[in-house]
Amino acid sequence: MAEMWINMGPQHPMTHGLWNMRVKVDGETIVDSEPVIGYLHRGWEKMVENRTYPQIIPMADRLCYGSSFTWSHVYCMTVEKLMDIEVPERAKYIRAMSDELQRIGSHLMWLAAIGTDLGNLTVFLYATRDRELFLDLFTSLCGARMTYNYCRIGGVRNDAPENWVRDLERTLDYFEKRLKEYDMLIDKSKLFRMRMEGLGYMSAKDAINAGITGPVLRASGVKYDIRHNDPYEVYDELDWQMCTHDACDTWARYRVRMMEMQESVNIVRDILKKMPKSGPIRVKPPRAAPVGTAIARMEDPRGESLMYLVGDGTDKPYRLSVRSPLFVILSATPQLLKGSKIADVPSILGMLDVCMGETDR
């Protein structure tokens, strides 16, 4: 068979979201590939220039449907840095807790997606079933399932509801049992490991050079996690372990995310122990930001998310720029895919946890 280009997307079961992975195949082997993005471009960065600072929070939620809280969080942190606001202690803990719950929810959605990518619907349904519990937690916390509009400049919108700690403990206990179930279903299955081991190799050097961050980088054995290297909120007061893996392949990426879910459970437990029982959760921010620039970054479930803000003294940002972790990771996909088979494309790309909202902005 001669070499030919195959479009995988923009309407294709492999792509989670609207994008196009063009692969050039020789028989079943991939010789070249080219990611085509931009189908979901909404002009986000231009839109926010016409909105006041608080109005941007729900828009930041919509950067990624999978982990909306982390994006509104990083936006609020950026504005707080520009306005020089100190967030109350309890609000910091609630934010960190929401971050970790969001990380679990986002990783569960990724797990569901790779289930269908690898051709097994059971994993998909189990993961969505368990994700529902975390969505329920968020519903009781802030009333929404996916786009929360919960973070505020200077704190969070409301305090945790009654019985919050009890519900959270129950969910975490249940979820830890489920993690063992995933372990038995996937990790102990030879066929699942066959589909993941040794695919999409990317050495630590290549990963750093490509600017890859997050679980994909840690799966290449690099100890780099913003929560650890540049701690924000209260992460320096919590004890937790960074999850890394040395295998540099798809299997390592899978393992790192699964370990991170367990680690997030531990972090939430630690937060519940150390969180002040009561106190203010919000300070009132000024209406307009001063002239100047601010930058804040945090560990998104998909990598390092960063926002750069230029204030011009009015109540609207002069410029708000977003660094999306996936935009960078997607540009490295040709390197990941080269030499593998067509059947490996969903497996390799699924491990990146693609979310087009933040990539195209």
């Binding site: 195959i6 079943e28 097994n120 059971t122 189990y126 279903l185 494309v345």
Partner: protein, 362 residues
């Protein structure tokens, strides 16, 4: 206890043609037509047609039952209730069939006008033709040829050819790759499958499914001496009927719907239906060759056909279980499993069978 299909239908046809229609015609003084209708040749042909129709309908009904069983059991495996249309979700298949019937018939512009409509006919026809050789019990069968086993496997061999034709004629890159994969996979897996079948033939000394079952009734179920062959045949059969974990030809994650991407409407429905028809034939082959066919407890009280269907459903449960628990395997890994694992195992199994036979133990 079993139903003698040929005797029953033959008697009914004879009663209808000779006693009812013949008498009326004689009364009308049309003696030549009455005599022609009552001649053995005409009676035979009508009987064969009626029996074939009954076998086709029963086969289709069992296949539909398998679809229902898969939907329900897969749902339970996945912690959901499964289909809910009608009592116990029994009407889902009919709702689906109605839905695909009212769909528009679309032929892609670039498709081959001759081969594109022909390939599904070939697939569906061949899949339905496989019902012919499957006996449900001593009396309930269509044909009792002494080569029925070989005929079934030969019909299985036509499928990859038709799939390749359909995938190629659709003129689409996904379908082309899917068709090529199907051809490579099914051709490869026929080798260990035939080797494990050969071991059965060596032990029983017959290629007739009826005689193989009779042999098992008199001696013992062949799964006991040929346990390796049973597993080889099971895995090859999963691959042959293209189910998870070997459903590469229609790998929906990377190839949309594989070789069948361009087929819509009732063609899609019938292709799906024919897949379950082949799944039924595959499960019944396993039941017939290794699990004693309709051999069961209390043969005087429980109909033999019921035992057979029970075993078919049991074997299909294994298929469903595999689908619930396993991911799809890659093309090269599938071929690796076939050539490096299954083929040696099948050869060992054949040696065991020959050893048993030459020692005179069976």
């Amino acid at each position: 206890m079993y139903l003698d299909l040929w005797g029953l239908v033959g008697g009914l046809v004879h009663w209808l043609m000779v006693d009812v229609i013949g008498t009326i015609l004689n009364w009308l003084h049309i003696y030549a037509l009455a005599e022609w209708l009552g001649s053995p040749g005409v009676l035979n042909i009508v009987t064969i047609l009626v029996v074939a129709l009954i076998i086709l309908i029963v086969g289709m009904l069992v296949s539909i039952t398998l679809i229902w069983q898969e939907r329900k059991m897969l749902g339970r495996f996945m912690d959901r209730v499964g289909t809910q249309v009608g009592p116990f979700g029994l009407f889902q298949n009919f709702a689906d069939a109605f839905k695909v019937l009212v769909k528009e018939y679309i032929v892609p512009n670039a498709a081959d006008r001759l081969i594109y409509p022909l390939a599904p006919i070939l697939i569906i026809g061949v899949s339905m033709a496989m019902f012919v050789t499957i006996p449900y019990s001593q009396g309930f069968y269509m044909s009792n040829s002494s080569l029925s086993l070989i005929l079934t496997l030969a019909l299985f061999g036509v499928i990859p050819f038709a799939v390749l034709l359909g995938g190629w004629a659709s003129n689409n890159k996904y379908t082309l790759i899917g068709g090529m994969r199907a051809a490579a996979q099914t051709c490869a897996y026929e080798v260990p499958m035939l080797l494990s079948v050969a071991s059965v033939v060596v032990l029983t000394g017959s290629m007739s499914l009826m005689e193989i079952v009779t042999y098992q009734q008199e001696n013992l179920w062949l799964i006991i001496p040929l346990i390796i062959g049973f597993f080889v045949f099971l895995i090859s059969m999963i691959s042959e009927i293209e189910r998870v974990p070997f459903d590469l030809p229609e790998a929906e994650a990377e190839l949309v719907e594989g070789w069948g991407t361009e087929y819509g409407g009732m063609r899609f429905g019938l292709i799906m239906m024919s897949e379950y028809a082949r799944a039924f034939v595959g499960s019944s082959l396993i039941a017939l060759l290794f699990l004693g066919g309709w051999d069961g407890l209390l043969p005087e009280f429980i109909p033999a056909g019921l035992w057979f269907l029970l075993k078919v459903l049991l074997v299909f449960t294994i298929f469903i279980w595999a689908r619930a628990a396993l991911p799809r395997v890659r093309t090269d890994q599938i071929l690796n499993i076939c050539w490096k694992r299954l083929l040696p195992l099948a050869a060992i199994n054949l040696f065991i069978a020959v050893f048993f036979k030459s020692m005179g133990w069976f």
